[in-house]
């Protein structure tokens, strides 16, 4: 065989294999064709593709399938919100029900100054592990453990540890209300609350169910169950249970009377304009007001978080020294 013949033979062999394969593939694709509702693709297209699982499904594709199959009455994409749901409804020819956007709030304000440490933990740095071992480093068995598992699970960069308070803080603009942090928190201190008018919110930043004395001893800013807020509330938005107040966000009219009467500053207000000169009721509330005032201006708010992040990187060495100090105190 000369060179040309070799080339021609090769071309013929390869091409015939190719044609044969094409025929088999075409036949297989026809034979095993999965008939899928084309609307699933369209719905999927309309979704945010965050695959966060906030809707309760494994990902956006599963959610799209569910929308097409079961209708959208009971389904909601917390990340996309009402806009996305309307787009989905348009594809499916249905009507979407409006739902208020929800945002995570952290119901614990036990910073090291308010909630002194009673012991030092030096095991694996993971909130769930600590919670399964014991109550935590402070006298409050309900409060934040401060190891930041909520930060790890957030897909939207919406929650960060504040290195000064050692508590997680939510960046409202980024929070999609996907529920990831709420689900992972072993202490159940994070709650999803409706964003509220002008994103103003009032909530009890404590979940301590101990009697007043014990709660106050463990943490200076704990809810002591004194019922003052319950009595002052004109809208029956506050309920008392196990020495703990809870404000129903749907009944709350944002009058802020409860914030004023709270003796420990456990009730927090978010995104309100700074108050006119009025004596502060407790140390806790003034601190909150300052933070709120800063948050009202978005630029400064972001700066706050960035500084927090930078400080968090430094934190490694600091916290260890602190631990040693604590151990020394114990012995």
């Amino acid at each position: 065989m000369n060179e040309n013949e070799v080339i021609i033979a090769t071309i013929i062999t390869i091409s015939s294999i190719g044609i044969l394969a094409a025929v088999i593939l075409y036949w297989a694709s026809q034979k095993f064709k999965v008939i899928e509702d084309p609307r699933i693709d369209e719905v999927d297209e309309a979704l945010p593709a965050a695959n966060c699982g906030g809707c309760g499904y494994a990902g956006c594709r599963n959610f799209a399938e569910a929308c097409v199959k079961d209708g959208i009455d009971d389904l909601f994409c917390p990340v996309g919100g009402n806009e996305t749901m309307q787009a989905v409804a348009k594809v499916l020819g249905l009507t979407a029900s409006e739902k208020e956007r929800e945002i995570a709030v952290v119901r614990c304000s036990g910073s090291p100054t308010h909630r002194p440490r009673t012991n030092a933990y030096d095991g694996a740095e993971n909130c769930t592990i600590v919670a399964s071992l014991y109550s935590g480093e402070t006298g409050c068995q309900y409060g934040c453990l401060g190891l930041g598992e909520c930060v790890e699970v957030c897909n939207f960069d919406a929650i960060h540890m504040n290195p000064i308070t050692n508590l997680p803080e939510v960046t409202e603009d980024n929070c999609t209300g996907c529920n990831a942090c709420v689900a992972i928190c072993p202490k159940d201190i994070i709650e999803l609350r409706p964003i509220g008018k002008k994103s103003r919110k009032i909530y009890v930043s404590c979940i301590n169910e101990d009697k007043g004395g014990a709660a106050k001893k463990a943490c200076a800013v704990a809810c002591i169950g004194c019922s003052k807020c319950f009595k002052v509330c004109a809208f029956e938005a506050i309920t008392m249970n196990n020495f703990l107040a809870y404000i129903d966000p749907n009944a709350c009219k944002l009058c802020r009377k409860c914030v004023d009467v709270c003796p420990t500053g456990a009730i927090h207000e978010l995104n309100f304009p700074p108050r006119k000169a009025k004596p502060a009721t407790a140390g806790g509330t003034t601190a909150v007001k300052k933070a709120v005032a800063k948050k009202a201006e978005p630029k400064e708010g972001i700066n706050l978080i960035e500084t927090a992040k930078k400080a968090a990187e430094k934190k490694g060495t600091d916290s260890k020294e602190e631990k040693k100090d604590n151990d020394n105190k114990e012995s």
Binding site: A124, I129, S132, D327
Partner: protein
């Protein structure tokens, strides 16, 4: 060649500081704080009222279910308060607080020291008496003993294994008990043998307790069917599965109980408690506790009433040393650090270990270097480094396939890890998460 289990195991320094210290009676405290959940299973239900006068041995809380145990008053005195007290977990648990007045015992208890060899009760009566007396496994797991004495239908036990291994470093309470109450213990063994209908019993003792081996071997000549087996020193030989493998060379299948291979395992301390319950009618309200630590002035073995504050034991042993880092309830390998020295001792407290600060601190975690030391020491043949990775990555289904539920939490992997990785912490996380998955699958 001495017998031992085949897979893995480690040799931590023994530090048995109190091996030659006789058991002493600890003076009665002014008040006792008796938790109602001192055992695995449902907490007991309180049946006394505030202001009631109780005698030692009187029942104050009734068993709250099948897996539960009665709680008896450890002292005589007045019930002053029901309070929630922080226990080893840091969470507040229900307790009965009794102010001590004198030391009057319930009349039915035989307070004499005379040995009663004759076993007059039938197997059913023995089980009932053990249950009524609130006896739980004293090795540390505190599983209600009477449940173990009822062999399930369709299963047959052919051997009773007594756990006198005490493989945890520092602890010597079982060792002292075998030396000082050997005879009573053997009668207890006989009682258990009668209850579960076996005629063979083996007492497994590690070879670092030569005096106990000798003492019991001599005593055993008077008791049919009981033999002492000296074992090679290796941690965690006191694990049920490891002990069965070491003594009778049978392997329990994954997820099964010892009865599957015809064995019942009881701690030697439990055998003594069974003797007291059955022959002396004395409920379980005191136990031997080792209080030890390198910087402690006077490490000792004490006979302590349940509900005594840990601080009382520390005072009796010479006070808290300056350099204390941790107070551990139990041994250094599997014990739990206490949150304060006011925690009461319970039926399951085998020792109190005062650890100096330099020894108690964990070092910083470094990356895994794939040395496989954890794999070679795991007594269950697991791969701890892999299990930890799965826990970190939340791949619980794959972790379950790697038999994580077989882990006995002995801590050998964390002990040998040259990178100080918290292997057991993450394995425990995996176990609890997978436990939830398994339960939801059943539901």
């Amino acid at each position: 060649m001495l017998k031992t289990f085949s897979k893995g195991g480690i040799h931590p320094p023994e530090n048995k500081l109190t091996a030659n210290k006789q058991i002493e009676m600890l003076a009665l405290p002014k008040t006792v704080v008796v938790p109602v959940a001192q055992h695995i299973g449902a907490p007991a239900k309180i049946i006394v009222k505030r202001g009631d006068m109780v005698k030692a041995g009187q029942i104050i809380a009734e068993s709250g279910g099948f897996i539960s145990a009665n709680i008896h008053s450890p002292v005589s005195g007045k019930v002053t308060k029901f309070d929630k007290i922080i226990d080893t977990s840091g969470y507040k648990k229900d307790t009965v607080i009794i102010e001590v007045e004198g030391d009057e015992w319930v009349d039915t208890i035989d307070k004499s020291d005379t040995l009663i060899k004759e076993i007059s009760l039938s197997p059913e009566e023995i089980v009932k008496r053990v249950n009524d007396s609130g006896v739980v496994g004293l090795g540390g797991a505190t599983f209600p003993s009477y449940v173990k004495l009822m062999v399930p239908k369709g299963k047959k036990a052919d051997v009773l294994i007594l756990n006198g291994v005490e493989c945890e470093p520092y602890l010597t309470s079982d060792h002292r008990l075998m030396l000082e109450k050997g005879e009573e213990m053997l009668v207890g063994v006989k009682i258990i043998m009668k209850a579960i209908n076996v005629n063979k019993a083996i007492i497994g003792i590690e070879n670092n307790k030569k005096d106990a081996i000798e003492h019991l071997t001599t005593l055993c000549q008077g008791y049919d069917g009981i033999t002492v087996v000296p074992l090679k020193v290796k941690y965690p030989q006191g694990g049920e599965k490891q002990l069965i493998k070491a003594t009778i060379n049978r392997e329990i299948p994954s997820g099964a109980l010892p009865i599957e291979v015809g064995a019942v395992v009881q701690n030697v301390g439990t055998a003594f408690a069974v003797y007291e319950a059955v022959q002396k009618n004395k409920p379980l309200f005191e136990r031997v506790i080792t209080i030890t630590g390198k910087s402690l002035k006077n490490p000792s073995n004490f006979l302590v009433r349940v509900g005594t504050a840990t601080s009382n034991l520390i005072e009796a042993a010479g006070g808290l040393p300056e350099d204390t880092g941790k107070i551990i309830s139990g041994g250094p390998m599997m014990g739990k650090a206490l949150l304060n020295d006011q925690s009461p001792v319970t039926k399951g407290t085998s020792g109190i270990l005062i650890m100096p600060e330099v020894e108690s601190q964990r070092r910083k975690m470094l990356p895994c270097i794939r040395c496989a030391k954890c794999v070679s020491v795991c007594p269950m043949g697991l791969e701890p480094f892999l299990l930890m990775t799965y826990s970190v990555k939340k791949e619980y289904e794959r972790e379950e396939k790697e038999r994580v539920m077989d882990c006995i939490e002995c801590g050998s992997c964390s002990y040998v890890c040259p990178s100080d990785r918290p292997l057991l912490d993450y394995i425990r996380l995996g176990k609890s998460e997978i436990g939830k998955i398994i339960r939801s699958r059943k539901a």
